[in-house]
């Protein structure tokens, strides 16, 4: 058995050689934010239908959005859209065959996480009338 071919075959990515990389995290986050945005767009359309046809639906949606829970939902949506937008541009850049070197990809992944966080804070601050 020891010298059979099958015992010498390498294992697929293994717990012992696994390590965290920010590029991997960004890839998972892109998918996660895509799902968050899917839900967010759905809820925004309900809000829009309420505004157009059913004031009670609007009031329900608006009540949730203006509650503390609503703040968390909006913050999550805004951060997700910023991340997905900028990481999406990173994807499109890769599609042209550039920016794929590990060093570059690591740098741009950190950049996308930081920029999404800073811009989300600014947008929420301005959107909640912080500037006025």
């Amino acid at each position: 058995m020891a010298d059979s071919l099958s015992s010498k075959r390498p294992l697929s990515p293994h717990l012992q050689i696994w390590r965290f990389t920010v590029t991997m995290a960004a890839s998972i986050t892109h998918r996660g934010t895509g799902v968050v945005l899917y839900g967010g767009v759905f809820l925004i359309v309900l809000w829009l239908i309420g505004a157009a046809f059913y004031p009670p639906l609007f009031e329900t949606a608006s009540g949730i959005v203006r509650s503390p829970v609503g703040f968390i939902l909006i913050a999550g949506f805004v951060w997700s859209l910023l991340f997905h937008l900028m990481n999406g541009l990173r994807h499109l850049y890769w599609d042209t065959g550039r920016g794929l070197a590990p060093k570059t990809a690591t740098m741009t992944a950190w950049l996308v996480y930081s920029a999404a966080t800073i811009l989300a804070a600014l947008i929420l601050w301005a959107g909640y009338g912080g500037g006025a």
Binding site: V41, A51, L92
Partner: protein, 111 residues
């Protein structure tokens, strides 16, 4: 990647390119619009620029997210459930397109 391969891949990139600039506009206005009262929200949507851009974002977005979700379903679901989820995913996208066009049109023109 997907069953239809290259055509969905290309449409996914195409909708992403279209969405990118509209998403920037959207991020500027959406927080205050969502947190405003009924009359203010309707006035914001009735503005022709806002109505057109919001409609474009939601309609192109619906197409983009349908393809994206289809990829995700293909990656994780391998049973008969896959086809059910595909159908629901289709209906959600179609619903978003029809509902947002209809709602924005109504607010803009039917008062």
């Amino acid at each position: 990647m997907s069953t239809k391969g290259t055509s969905t891949f290309i449409i996914q990139r195409f909708t992403a390119v279209l969405l990118a600039p509209i998403a920037i506009w959207f991020l500027f206005g959406i927080v205050s619009a969502l947190t405003s009262d009924y009359a203010t929200a309707r006035a914001w949507i009735a503005n022709p620029w806002n109505g057109a851009l919001l409609g474009a974002f939601l309609i192109i977005g619906a197409w983009h997210m349908r393809i994206g979700m289809m990829e995700i379903i293909l990656d994780y679901i391998h049973s008969w459930l896959k086809d059910v989820l595909f159908l629901i995913n289709w209906l959600v996208a179609l619903g978003i397109i029809v509902a947002s066009a209809w709602a924005i049109f109504h607010i803009s023109f039917a008062g």
